[in-house]
């Protein structure tokens, strides 16, 4: 079925899963505010949010299986959108599941916290769908506004407030860059539609137009901030450390996935003709993120900060895929995103389980000898660390993720050999801190008097278990995930035309 986006009713249908989530979030918002704050109410709203997410995910699957498409308009109806939606919804489900138990421990009682996660997720779904810079902007803002608040949710913690304020101020500043970039691109092309921009920039028509060049540069800065790529990463460690851990996990995975997805869509769909202009900046961003993220992570003593720098490094790896700007790069990108989301989420869930009330016990010292007191937890953490590192077999799907990134980089039409070399070298550096965590857990004795991590609730444990199982299983049979990624890449005008010709 082909949606005609010019008709409001068909536009509404094409926007179905997003509308379901938004409407559900509004109903839950009313319910959350209806009763006084209590732990039971918070849990109930959390459960209802999980049900809503499951329903939205089912709707996304249903849409993706019907082979829908649309006329060219302000939103896209393609598999890339559903793929990113599903990744973001998975992240949201994990964040709410972890949050229900974490919030009880930390006495964060407002039930609205789950509703804000839902709002942020609807912003991500808008981003995944956006085919117009105006919608991109609204999606980014909807996502960010909710996350600014979520980062500062723990009002007993000064770090949480600091992180939230830093994120808000720098985020607002970065939004200015993004908006100015959009305005200049509009000035140079006369449109905010990605389709129209690609038409006007086709054949390098505007490659030397100063307004277009400055606009493209500002867009790179705006997106670079949202994906926490060096040198726009300064906020990330403080915010990741201060935010409640489930929200940190949400930011490191779903927020990053959505921002990256729209970044990729804008470059691949709207600006293939500007490739010569944006390739250079993105190349350097990738190198800087991989280098700074991995090297600074080596000196971290707090596991949340360590994972924050690790996530900066992973932004660098993903930028390698964006720099390719090819279908193959996009396939590797989606595959890697899934692998990274699973491992990263699992690692943060373990951080919650080892941590104690007051967001304490997040230092590397607290992981010494974990194997002797909580062997299953130590094993799961080992799997996540190896997966983030890209270790074969025991690292599961993480290894294949890096492998596809590398092969895509080397086989690109303009081979990115240097980037591939940097990727491998910095991955070796990353072993220095990932393996260090494993060394501490398995090869050190548990210090005397170190508290044994409390038994976490069922939801947290199941998040860890599901993430670990998925990492290992997809590491053994990655075929389906590869096919799914390959079917879900964004298509440029030329590619769509070629596909249409092939059919007729």
């Amino acid at each position: 079925m082909i949606f005609d986006l010019a008709h409001p009713s068909q536009l509404m249908q094409a926007f179905g899963p997003d509308l379901l989530l938004m409407a559900g979030a509004m109903v839950l918002m009313l319910w959350a505010a209806w009763r006084p704050e209590s732990n039971e109410h918070q849990r109930a709203v959390g459960m209802a949010s999980l049900v809503l997410i499951a329903a939205t995910m089912a709707l996304c699957f249903w849409y993706s299986m019907r082979g829908l498409s649309s006329t060219q308009g302000i939103i896209a109806v393609d598999n890339f959108r559903w793929a990113v939606d599903i990744i973001c919804l998975l992240g949201a489900a994990g964040a709410i599941a972890l949050g229900m138990e974490y919030n009880a421990r930390e006495h964060i009682l407002p039930a609205e916290s789950h509703v804000l996660v839902l709002f942020a997720t609807s912003g991500m779904m808008v981003l995944a769908a956006a085919r117009d810079l105006m919608i991109v902007f609204l999606g980014i803002e909807l996502m960010s506004v909710a996350i600014y608040v979520l980062a500062g949710l723990n009002r007993r913690s000064a770090k949480s407030a600091e992180g939230s304020l830093k994120y808000f101020l720098l985020g607002a500043f970065a939004t200015g860059f993004l908006l100015y970039g959009i305005a200049l691109v509009y000035g140079a092309t006369g449109s905010t539609s990605l389709v129209e921009i690609s038409r006007r920039t086709a054949g390098q028509a505007l490659l030397l137009n100063p307004m277009m060049l400055v606009g493209t540069g500002l867009l790179v800065i705006g997106f670079g901030f949202k994906i926490a790529a060096a040198p726009f990463h300064m906020w990330a460690p403080d915010v990741y450390e201060g935010a409640p851990t489930p929200i940190t996990a949400f930011m490191a995975t779903a927020v990053k996935a959505a921002a990256f997805a729209t970044f990729l869509r804008v470059w691949v769909e709207a600006m293939p003709g500007m490739g010569a202009a944006w390739l250079g900046p993105i190349w350097w961003l990738a190198v800087a993120a991989m280098f700074i993220g991995n090297v600074v992570a080596l000196s971290q003593r707090n596991l949340k900060r360590l994972l924050a720098y690790s996530s900066i490094a992973h932004s660098g790896y993903l930028l390698v895929a964006v720099a390719e700007g090819t279908t193959r790069g996009a396939t590797a990108f989606l595959f890697y995103l899934v692998a990274y989301t699973l491992a990263s989420f699992g690692a943060f869930a373990v951080v919650i389980m080892v941590g104690r009330e007051g967001d304490a016990n997040n230092d590397l010292v607290d992981y010494e000898g974990l194997w002797h007191v909580r062997p299953a937890l130590a094993l799961a953490m080992g799997v996540f660390m190896l997966s983030l590192m890209g270790f074969p077999v025991f690292g599961g799907v993480g290894f294949f993720g890096k492998w596809y990134l590398l092969t895509a980089a080397i086989n690109a039409p303009r081979p990115l050999i240097v980037l591939a070399v940097v990727l491998v070298m910095t991955s070796v550096v990353s072993a220095g801190y990932y393996l260090n965590v494993i060394r501490l857990m398995f090869m050190k004795a548990r210090p005397d008097g170190a508290p044994v991590p409390e038994r976490a609730g069922g939801l947290t444990r199941s998040v860890v278990f599901i993430a670990a199982a998925a990492v290992l299983i997809l590491g053994i049979v990655p075929g389906r995930l590869i096919n799914w990624s390959r079917d879900s890449v964004p298509r440029t005008q030329q590619m769509e035309a070629a596909a249409a010709n092939a059919v007729h």
Binding site: E37, P110, F119, I135, L142, A188, G190, L206
Partner: protein, 189 residues
Amino acid sequence: MQPNQFHSLVYEFAFYFFGLTAIASAIAFVTRKSPVAAAMWLVNVMFCLAGLYVMLDAQFIATMQVLVYTGAIMVVFLFVIMLLNLGHPSDLADARGKWGYIMALFVGLALLAEVMVLNRSNAIERLIPPDLAAKAAAAAAAPLAGGIIGPVAAPLFKEYLLAFELTSVLLLAAIVGAVVLGKRRTNAR
């Protein structure tokens, strides 16, 4: 005196009245020491600009200017000023000491020179692709369908309907967030 002449005289008078008042208020706005007085002068600037918009036949923008800027934004400014209870004005000055003033003067003059140069040359026009410029000129010359607000309303509820609705969701999320952060904890430990 011909009615036409009289009309243009009134027009000219109104233009100078609003323009000069706006400039004078803007100067008062940046020189007042008290934040509340400065904010009130800014309200005056906004009103004068609204008057100028009416003279340009942009009544809708004039209304929005009064409703949004003077009505909503400036009231929030005043709230913030009162809630924050800012300290002594001299502690809040942006430019401090001799070098601060010299730098401020230099930047101000540079910006003024930039405006004058750009106004004289067609540097900005040359940045815009010619076919786009022609399209924009044709659109500006075409008669307005649906009165003054037609050209605003029609795209807002047709072409940009989705963006319009998404904006309301964005604002809702922002309100919920503000309430969550600002609410007094009843059963906090």
